[in-house]
């Protein structure tokens, strides 16, 4: 048996360079497990939603105490790391020839093979087959189908006609303008918050982070509605304050800058997360050394912190840009009244107004979105390539800057920003759900709960939508675990080309705009399925299938973190004691990843329950989702009802996030985006 103390130390090696022998305190390897593997989770703490789970290619073998080249992988959304992967848990002894257990970042490459028998960690061959088939069906098939339709369009000359239409050009231009503007605003907001949280000693960081993450969790169409209610000549809020603009002034948000502003607010949390993750790897001792040498805080920030946060900024910018390209809810509510079409709203209106003769056209348009998104991500890779961000030493520039007397001002500024981007719109939303008719000023005499009564007790569509969203969200959240638990296990235990391919395949559907995915699923399911002869189009199952594909990456993330933190020794011990794979799964693996699986369920549930883009194209009679119901209520002119339903949805989101916060102590460190 290997010396567990040695293992324990080696696993902490990264934070103690160089490692020196057994732990002085004589902690056992099992004890170590209770402590989160900070180094690894730091290393993996990146853009939590759009990470690419392909680990580093296994050519940077690390020895104790040496920084390993943190190659920026193909992963387009990884942020800065400078960490050292732990060494192999066991000396490569020859006494167990079939043992090829590998930890991430461990030495050599072991290509997959699908040969049966007890390979690798002793998992049965069917597991690999199951995971591969599942990922293929959920990720590769829709993309292949879409590509095929797009290609067919090219061959028939349909593509050329669509691509050179003035409407397409205009939509492409509008999409790029709004996404770029949104990206810049996200960068400013997100980076400001991230620097303040990661580098200064302000108080109430958890509350600030939690509140700052909210805009990302609230459905975009609700955000748009809330802002519309907040501004413009009839804003109940502005009227109550006597600040309403004069009659006939256009709603300022129905414009390019309005769309960009809201995209910026919606996606600022993504930048915030990326930059914060990058800063977690900033060298504390470097900052301290500079401060001791007498450098001014500004100089330290400019010369040390800023250059090191560059990868996080670039990654955040790319994510914000791609999210802006694919956003449907905001341009739908703000752009349509102003005749500003973006590519997603163009696809939607084409599908809605000209019937289905245009599948080829729509496939071409969604391929165009996919190409633009990919171009954005490639730009990011270009910006980061050829730089080396290897670091050694202590991580985490925790509160490097004491603000002193400025602290109160900084806190006030942060909360004021949150008040403007979050609290005021939500208050406006509540106000507009209480007005009896449009344009009536809100006060205690005119206040009415009619809208709430209507949506809760009379509108069957609300209940239908709520039922569908709850069903879809819980089915996707729980059902995905069946795929993501084995997938996470395999990706952590095995390395190689096939694992990397799987990781990329899982990531792509999430990185693509939802509308593209929805179109792919329409193409797959519009015709009756072979063998059964049933058409899923127009049923709830097509939405569920699209959700499975879309949220695979979200579901995998927490599970993967849990597997990364698990010492293989545990499973190994069970195996040596003669436990079969299923038995080990039941008694060792599942209990250890249960909390993370719970977090995965809630995260997917949260995102799926509020989803609009995918279901906007796929809904039908009786299969409306909450997102569709809100959008449709607003569309039919009942924005008081839309606001009331939105208020309820926001309450649900806050409750779910609070539930996650409640179970936070049982979770791997990097699962909840607002915690650090």
């Amino acid at each position: 048996m290997p010396n567990t103390d040695e293992i324990a130390c080696s696993r902490r090696g990264a934070s103690r360079a160089p490692a020196e022998g057994p732990d002085a305190e004589g902690r056992s390897g099992f004890k170590m497990l209770e402590r989160p593997l900070r180094v690894l989770s730091k290393a993996r703490r990146f853009q939590w939603l759009r990470l690419l789970l392909g680990g580093e290619t296994a050519d940077g073998a690390g020895r104790d105490g040496e920084a390993v080249p943190a190659k920026l992988p193909k992963a387009l959304t990884r942020t800065l790391r400078g960490f050292e992967p732990p060494p192999m848990p066991y000396a490569a002894a020859d006494d167990l020839p079939e043992r090829k257990t590998r930890r991430r970042g461990a030495g050599r490459r072991f290509p997959f093979s699908l040969r049966g028998g007890q390979r690798g960690g002793g998992e049965p061959a069917w597991l690999m087959l199951f995971v591969f088939c599942a990922v293929f069906l959920l990720s590769a098939l829709p993309l292949i189908r879409l590509g095929w339709a797009g290609f067919g369009g090219l061959v028939e000359g349909e593509a050329a006609r669509v691509l050179f239409e003035p409407a397409t050009f205009a939509a492409l231009r509008n999409t790029l303008i709004t996404a770029t503007g949104g990206m810049l605003i996200s960068l400013m907001l997100g980076a400001f918050f991230a620097f303040a949280m990661a580098l200064t000693d302000i108080r109430g960081k958890l509350a600030l982070s939690f509140a700052f993450m909210l805009p990302m969790m609230i459905p975009p169409q609700v955000t748009a509605l809330a802002w519309v209610e907040m501004s413009g000549p009839s804003s109940p809020l502005l009227k109550a304050l006597g600040l309403a603009p004069p009659l006939g002034s256009p709603q300022p948000l129905y414009s390019f800058s309005g769309i960009a502003l809201l995209l910026g607010v919606q996606h600022a949390p993504l930048v915030f997360l990326a930059v914060k993750a990058g800063l977690a790897g900033a060298p504390r001792d470097g900052v301290e050394a500079a401060r001791l040498a007498g450098a001014s805080p500004w100089r330290v920030f400019r010369d040390i912190v800023l250059p090191l946060s560059f990868p996080g900024l670039i990654a955040g910018a790319a994510i914000a840009f791609v999210s802006g390209i694919g956003n449907f809810g905001i341009p739908a509510i703000l752009g349509i009244p102003a005749s500003i079409e973006t590519l997603p709203t163009l696809i939607f209106s084409r599908l809605a107004s000209f019937g289905t003769a245009t599948f080829g056209e729509i496939a071409v348009l969604s391929s165009l979105i996919a190409v633009v998104s990919a171009a954005g991500l490639l730009l990011q890779q270009r910006a980061l390539s050829g730089r080396d961000y290897r670091l050694i030493g202590l991580f985490g520039a925790n509160a490097a800057f004491a603000l002193g007397r400025l602290r109160l001002a900084a806190e006030a500024l942060l909360w004021a920003l949150l008040a403007v981007v979050l609290v005021a719109p939500l208050l406006a939303l509540v106000a507009s759900s209480l007005v009896p008719a449009y344009g009536v000023p809100l006060n205690f005499q005119t206040m009415s709960l009619h809208a709430y009564g209507e949506i809760l007790f009379r509108q069957s569509v609300t209940l239908t939508a709520l039922r569908n969203s709850l069903f879809l969200a819980s089915a996707a959240a729980v059902g995905l675990l069946v795929v993501t638990v084995p997938t996470g296990y395999l990706l952590v235990r095995r390395r190689g080309a096939l694992a990397n391919l799987l990781a990329i395949l899982i990531e792509v559907p999430y990185a693509l705009p939802g509308i593209v995915l929805a179109v792919a699923f329409i193409l797959i399911f519009a015709a009756p399925l072979p063998v059964i002869g049933l058409s899923l189009y127009g049923t709830i199952w097509i939405i569920l299938a699209a959700y499975f594909s879309s949220f695979l990456a979200v579901s995998l993330k927490p599970v993967m973190s849990a597997f990364l933190q698990m010492d293989p020794a545990l499973e190994e011990a069970a195996r040596l004691a003669g436990a079969g794979f299923l038995r080990r799964t039941r008694d060792v693996l599942l209990p250890l990843i249960a909390p993370a699986a719970g977090a995965s369920v809630i995260l997917v549930f949260l995102i799926a329950a509020n989803e609009l883009t995918v279901s906007a194209l796929l809904w039908s009679a009786g299969t409306q989702t909450l997102g569709v119901a809100i959008f449709n209520l607003d569309d039919s002119g009942s924005s008081d009802l839309a606001s009331a339903l939105s208020v309820l949805v926001v309450l649900m989101v806050i409750a779910l996030m609070a539930a996650l916060e409640f179970i936070a102590k049982y979770l791997p460190e990097d699962v909840l985006p607002w915690r650090n």
Binding site: G232, P233, S234, L247, G248, S249, P250, Q251, Y254, I336, P337, A338, S339, E341, L346, S349, L351, A352, S353, F354, G355, T356, P436, A437, Y438, G439, V440, T446, E454, R458, Q459, S460, V461, T464, R467, N468, L470, F471, S474, V478, A526, A527, P528, G538, I540, G598, V601, S620, A621, G622, Q624, N632, D635, S636, G637, S638, S639, L641, I663, Y666
Partner: protein, 326 residues
């Protein structure tokens, strides 16, 4: 953790049960606003216990796109259609998608208000006129007023790409001497916008984002009664009208409840439900709702339904060309 999982499991089971229970209901596709659709369905279900109705609401153009997509996919979900205009119904009938049904209630209706074969029946009269904000400096009296400099940048209208009534309205005005497509061009030059459905127009004018708008009568009159600062005029040149016909699809999975639904809408009781919501009833001998002028004083502009049906696609393109692509 365990409680969380069991809660999720319970939600799953409940979801599955309810999805399963959803088969066998009457499915209605309608373009009425949500509250009206719900009230109509509620009144019908109260009169016919035992029939459950599921309904979907979208603008006429969009609901048709949805239906056509379903027909294309070989799985039309709807049993009954209740949409804005007879032109669309006529097109559906010609394509062979509607089931002829002779309702006994038709006797109380003008023969021009229903299809001779019983493929569809008009249920009400919806005219499109001018809505303006109470604090508007100019009080419009006719369509031409909206093209005046006083209204520059202050006019909005529903888009035919969303609303069936808006398409008929545009086709009607386009056929009137002295208005025509030139009138729409003049509006566009005057900064008028066209987007979304009637609800959006109502909201924009009531909230003061815009001051003048073209909108369906009942919305404006009803909202005024609720206290919104809006006025509605039937313009001097006349108004366009749609009649919100109902029809049963040939592929209906629940034909019997569907026939009951048609009968109910045409019956005196069903017509009174419509009046209560603020619609002009189509049935003879039912009084108009509050806030409307007498029936005979409203001048309805004629529209050639057959030509309108034939030119719908081209007119949509013309309109899009004038107002951009929405």
């Amino acid at each position: 953790m365990k409680t969380l999982l069991s809660a999720v499991a319970a939600a799953l089971v409940a979801g599955l049960m309810s999805t399963a229970a959803f088969a066998g209901n009457l499915i209605l596709y309608t373009s009425q606003p949500n509250e009206d659709a719900q009230a109509t369905v509620d009144a019908f279900m109260a009169a016919n216990p035992g029939v459950e109705v599921e309904w979907v609401r979208e603008g006429t153009t969009k609901i048709m796109a949805k239906l056509m997509a379903e027909i294309e996919a070989g799985n039309p979900v709807a049993d009954v259609l209740l949409i804005a205009d007879t032109v669309t119904m006529q097109r559906l009938k010609e394509a062979g998608h509607l089931m002829p049904y002779k309702s006994a209630e038709a006797a109380a209706y003008d023969a021009s208000l229903y299809d001779a074969d019983g493929a569809y029946y008009s249920t009400k009269m919806i005219t499109t006129g001018i809505i303006y904000n109470s604090s508007a400096p100019m009080k419009p009296a006719g369509w031409q007023d909206l093209a005046k400099p006083e209204a520059k940048g202050l006019v909005t209208m529903p888009s035919p790409l969303t609303s069936g009534a808006a398409l008929i309205h545009a086709q009607t005005l386009a056929g009137v001497d002295g208005l025509g497509w030139d009138y729409y061009k003049a509006l566009a030059e005057n900064g008028a916008t066209a987007a979304g459905g009637n609800g959006g127009v109502l909201k924009a004018v009531a909230t003061g984002e815009k001051v003048y708008g073209m909108v369906v009568d009942f919305m404006a009159i009803r909202e005024k009664a609720k206290g919104a600062p809006v006025e509605f005029v039937f313009p001097a040149e006349g108004v366009s009208a749609v009649t919100e016909p109902v029809g049963i699809l040939k592929t209906a999975k629940n034909p019997e409840p569907a026939k009951k639904f048609v009968d109910f809408l045409l019956s005196e009781e069903g017509q009174k439900v419509a009046v209560k919501m603020g619609y002009i009833p189509a049935r003879n001998g039912v009084a108009l709702p509050e806030g409307f002028p007498a029936r005979e004083t409203i001048k309805v502009l004629p529209v050639d339904a057959a030509a309108a049906a034939k030119n719908a696609e081209a007119d949509l393109k013309t309109f899009s060309g004038i107002f951009g692509t929405n």
